[in-house]
Symmetry: C4
Subunit: 326 residues, 4 copies
């Protein structure tokens, strides 16, 4: 389907010529060596790029603070089990008879579980004392384990705090990006709202446009343009915000049809930067829209409602609602 | 009362025309779809806007770090009681006879309280050991509880630190905003002081003005303007600071009377941004003044005193003191 | 002495006129209502200004993180003793006989010390268990104390981390500020060095000059000027840095003699702002020089040496060394 | 070898004259008093400069957070052993007979080890209780030790969190800097990539050039210049980035040969500044290249590959790969 257009196409050629005249926005940070298939940015704002880490631990911290809460908790819990199992085996090798209060039995599992629980009481420093080490070696290992336990929980404290404080801004984006009449021509529009109660201050939005082009030798490569937004910075962002790029002659989108977008694998990338008041930090959010997420001749439906007390209310779940233009 | 003026009024119409000629300051972040009743910003700087959260946990962190210290402590304490009660019930279902040192009794409450205290000793890792788990299931649950206990307190450590470090600047604002003679005309004035001992550096103030207007179809909507301040940034803010907006012809307030302000539901919003030295962070404070908080023809009384040693002293409790102009 | 000059003085009058012609730098943040005695900034950079706190706890955090380490440790230790004493009294009122392993004795102090140590074992969650609560009330209070203990140590963790990370840049300033020949005229010079191993990046210096003047009614008040520095921003600050203000005709210091400085209670205030690499934060340091700390016709001695390996070495203890010009 | 050139050299003289005409970039922060041997910046970006600390503890925090993880862990572990040994000796001096459950023996080491393990159980608050203090003095010291233990682990928590959050950006630099044909002349090029999975936003690069020169009296000193980069700021840095300085007539490198670089001890210093998304902080990375690391007439080999799924992949281990130009 997409191929047909390219084959019969006079317009794509003209268009290509026109667009190639425009200088690529090099300051975006994308070079020429990126090819044409797939999207560069995933819808959640992560880049569709792999990077070989330069060393085995280069990304440990990032991995630990950016995994989901469920996975983090599961990881912590499993580590707790593994460390205790390991120490249980060490204590067994020292000999269960070197622990006051432990009852040596024939069954391996019974002895193992007694040592496992002793280990857990040592690692968490709960130390009931109904079991306690009686000889030198057992005491030494238990001493080391309690030391290790405190270090580990200090580390978990640090990670928990990191996870808390380093959250991304939770911005809600419209799922689609609309092409609608704007001023004398057309414009593309998307809508965002703050998904947290904490206020965002000095919010800034930048948008980019990527599409495939051919170089002289006929190889496809990806080109990147900045998209000028009508308003790109606001002081307060307590309501919703509709962002507009006017498709004037200066726009890299000028003259492109829906089919052109699909064929050239068009992608619109959005970067939002703001100061989050709750933690006084600059936060970033990103979103990417592919050609399939571009809706032609539609307009957004109202997103503002009212509470029972007459207070304005942002209906964030309606942020993406739109209707076709008649 | 307010109605009468509108009915007999030639002036409001003229004024509306004049103000509507001025372009709304769109970069403030308020759109057209906000209607006219009530104030948009509460006196404490929070916005009078509701936002539906996009998910159940989107605001948990914000909620935990922004609640009052009293509520935070109460919440922690109640959670401690509930978790211990829950574990007490679990231990009872395992059987109190599986705990060394526990005394099974007929009364439910006596057994419950023994298990509640065992739970508390496990959760806090105090672990006296006069009660200790004796069989596998009891040990396993106690092991899990001590693990949970450490996680919980690690989490509380993180929250406490967040609460400490993420405090807002404590700015003291004058309760009223004054309209007084300034240069050849009039100006509006408000006064602020730093309520903390920690110094504020590079303090910046921005002011906005909101009022109701009618569109062509006679519907009221709210319009927003920036207010230019005579000095809007200072290097040190160790004394008090009186901020002044001169009501010249360029001002959106030019020609408005006290009645106009009331009738049009005028609101002045102030945003202060500074670097707090104690935590090297950019902090924000906001305040809103409604038409009722605007005092005409008054001046601020002195706010600077002296200590016994002759050192200048900012009397922050007098920051709002003013006297009518004779 | 200072008086005589004013009395016989034609020059001070002239000078006053000349200086008063220059506009005060209002963006520094000092108003007119500061009078003339004493210095405004202490040598260590704190302001010589009192501010009434708006509430009893407005400065608790600032106080806790900015006190010296010795005082902080002493405060923590004394609090530990007081909390344990308090709980010891509560346990005694419950009755020492309600504690397993405690030995009730006739002497108050013996009972008190047993309960004090039980309390300490509970608060720190060490919980040996040779003493443990036996009835409901004792168990309940001990449970609450262990909860409180964990909260308290979570809080201390947070404060310790705050204290660590929120340290000021440790800049070493020359004790004196020199007036020396510079280009075709004179200049004032002071020297700074970074007292930490951590690098400072994008270091910026601003200087101000304050002196007393008379208004029309003959009242002394303090006026503030910005001082232009020859170079006021450097990318790396790994060596020492000599800052220079050229006393040209544009300078508020032009034409002032040493006696003028003393008589008018001149004060030079310096603000250094930099990004500290170790904690990626913007840090500030301040220093003030009074007229007494101004040395005329002197030059700084070299501050750079070499290590045994030929590596350049900043001798920070010589940062203030100067010699008179012959 | 290097000498010969200087001796026979007409060109160096000319060149010196030409370069000395260019004003040194004083805003870099390097003065005249740095001499000519060795490099100023080490390859890892630390400065080759010593600074005397102004006090014994001025650099403790920096030292603790910047040492390697291995050393940090070893230090913690050794401190744990030393503190316990110290307290063991104190407990022995109080008398081992004042501890319930301890078995006084003739051998010193046996008593010492019992007290060492009691100390470790107290410091970590594990407190099994099979050994517990029985008289006043022993209880008092144990109480103090448990207090100290909690403080210490609170401190370690804070340090661990500091170490986690304050990591430098892990940038991978090409090992060599290339001189290749660029536009109509030549340019120097180096290549960087982000070594972490966390994205870098608004990445900025600055480059400097240092070389030795003679002053009028024939003494060598070091001069510093800014190097203008073709593109010096990009929005996203998810791919690799080749930085280029064009050696035009305005460049301080214009006309220099490879031998000139060696002879004048040329050094190119690079500073990268970016916002790291994972911790919302501004991070810095530095790298220095000496004349020996400058490769003439070479070009970089491709650094971008593809994963099995066709996703672009940055091969960070090939960041420095280059080939000579034919």
């Amino acid at each position: 389907m997409r191929q047909t257009r390219r084959n019969n196409g006079q317009r794509p050629g003209d268009m290509l010529k026109r667009i190639m005249g425009k200088e690529q926005a090099q300051e975006l940070g994308f070079g020429k060596n990126i090819t044409a298939e797939g999207r560069l940015m995933n819808p959640d704002g992560t880049f569709n790029v792999e990077r070989d880490p330069p060393g085995p631990f280069a990304n440990t911290y990032f991995w630990l603070v950016s995994m989901s809460w469920l996975r983090f908790m599961a990881l912590t819990f499993v580590s707790f089990g593994l460390i205790n199992s390991l120490f249980a085996l060490v204590y067994l090798s020292v000999g269960i008879e070197n622990f006051n209060g432990a009852r040596p039995e024939k069954e391996f599992f019974s002895n193992f579980s007694q040592m496992f629980f002793f280990s857990s009481q040592t690692l968490t420093t709960v130390g009931y004392g109904h079991v306690s080490p009686s000889n030198f070696t057992a005491s030494l290992i238990a001493s080391f384990e309690s030391f290790l336990g405190l270090l580990t929980f200090a580390l978990i404290s640090g990670l928990l705090y990191s996870r808390f404080s380093l959250q991304r801004a939770k911005l809600v984006f419209s799922e689609k990006i609309l092409v609608s009449p704007y001023k004398d021509g057309k414009g593309i529009m998307f809508r965002i709202a703050n998904g947290r109660k904490s206020e965002l201050i000095d919010t800034e939005v930048r948008a980019m446009f990527a599409l495939n082009q051919m170089d002289e030798s006929g190889n496809a490569y990806r080109k990147f343009y900045s998209l000028k937004l009508e308003i790109d910075k606001i002081m307060f962002f307590s309501l919703s915000w509709t962002l507009v790029h006017a498709i004037t002659e200066d726009s890299p989108m000028y003259g492109l049809t829906q089919e052109d977008f699909l064929q050239m694998n068009g992608e619109i990338m959005v970067l939002v930067k703001a100061t989050e008041e709750a933690n006084h930090q600059t936060v970033h959010a990103r979103r990417s829209y592919t050609a399939e997420e571009l809706v032609w001749d539609a307009k957004f439906l109202p997103v503002m409602g009212k509470t029972a007390n007459g207070i304005p209310r942002v209906l964030t779940n309606k942020i993406g609602d739109y209707a076709p233009l008649s």
